[in-house]
Symmetry: C2
Subunit: 221 residues, 2 copies
Amino acid sequence: MKHTKGLRMARASDTLIEQLKHDIFSGLLKPGDQLEEADLATRFGVSRTPIREAIRSLVDCGLLETRPRKGAMVRVLTAKELNDLFEVAAELEGMACRLASDLLTLSDKKDIEASLELCRSAAEAEDIPTYAEANLAFHAAIHKASGNAWLVDQLDQIQARINVYRLMPYEVVGRLEKSLTEHREISDAIFTKNGALANTLMRDHMMLQGARLPSLLNALE
Amino acid sequence: MKHTKGLRMARASDTLIEQLKHDIFSGLLKPGDQLEEADLATRFGVSRTPIREAIRSLVDCGLLETRPRKGAMVRVLTAKELNDLFEVAAELEGMACRLASDLLTLSDKKDIEASLELCRSAAEAEDIPTYAEANLAFHAAIHKASGNAWLVDQLDQIQARINVYRLMPYEVVGRLEKSLTEHREISDAIFTKNGALANTLMRDHMMLQGARLPSLLNALE
DNA sequence: TACATCTTATATGGATACATATAGCAACAT
DNA sequence: ATGTTGCTATATGTATCCATATAAGATGTA
């Protein structure tokens, strides 16, 4: 039999990483929660080794933090750190729009329009979780259209960090419609190849969310 | 005896990470080189466990890549990937200049001026390695002045990736003096609180280096 | 009662042992 | 001679075992 060279077996640690990320994003694991290796090992039915690998990865992602001999806990972000994150996110999101304006393909345009339609219907139904999902799709479509793989990676990483807080801004009355309008303006600027405008609009769009964070953080405790 | 609570013991894997990074930056480990866990374990006098932790971290940094069941190798960057990196680096470096212009403290200004003086003397002596060092200090001083910790992290990470290639542009005759002039213009813009100009100048400064990469990559093989 | 010191439990960090998939090589058949 | 098949060696992935630092609790004394 020919050796199945393409068949790459999944590693247990990779599965764990996905699972733990999911647990963090879904709120099952809250900032400050302690992660005990033995617990996780029994819970997932594997030994401590892959658990430790997964934890190390998540530490490198910035989702967890460890103190030597003290184990891992879900990282708690201060208001300053969150603000810093949003500032960089705004810059890179704007950059993605600029690049997308230059390089836009028909396929990219279709993807952006499709995600925009998702946003529209969710906003109409005032369905916040669905809108949040559609919002991610909209941004992801633009990221992809930028054609810069490293930029996409960075934005994914940042998004993983602020994902937990991303739902909250939409709770504000009227924010959904406002967000949708901004999305329309941004995509229009991209479609008309106005990179500078698209950049600015996206930056403002992001900063608007970031600006609300202090009050949102207060609401957390 | 009172427990020495502040004394945090270093983990072996952390030391290994630093060592391996150094080996990669210094060129001892070249892109494409295979890393065998057992080899490293004997070389560093530790077991495979901390070796694996270190490798995992470096993979997450993007310095290494692994194929399941095939182990780790120093990541090889394609021209496209390098270009993407420089594009993002240029954007973020520009952003750091903009923020630094707004937030500049006296201490930050002193640091930037000091690093600039290092650049000047190295350029005068036409000492490329020393200039490269001073150049890093100049950029680092600006990063710090931006006041955005996450931005500093991201720039460090990107720099780790392109560090290997960073010496080469200076081989071009006259590039040292040109680079120094650009540094002066950038710091002047920051000192006069002209954030938009500082942003643009730094972006151009970075892109100029990035633009030379294709020819530099050809010279590699 | 309060404080300090010692003991002990436990969880992390590291070492080692084991299972298995991949790759290289050889032998055989066509 | 070439291509295929099967064996074997080896390195990765996982499990388990051991050492030790930390922290909590107990005990004794002032």
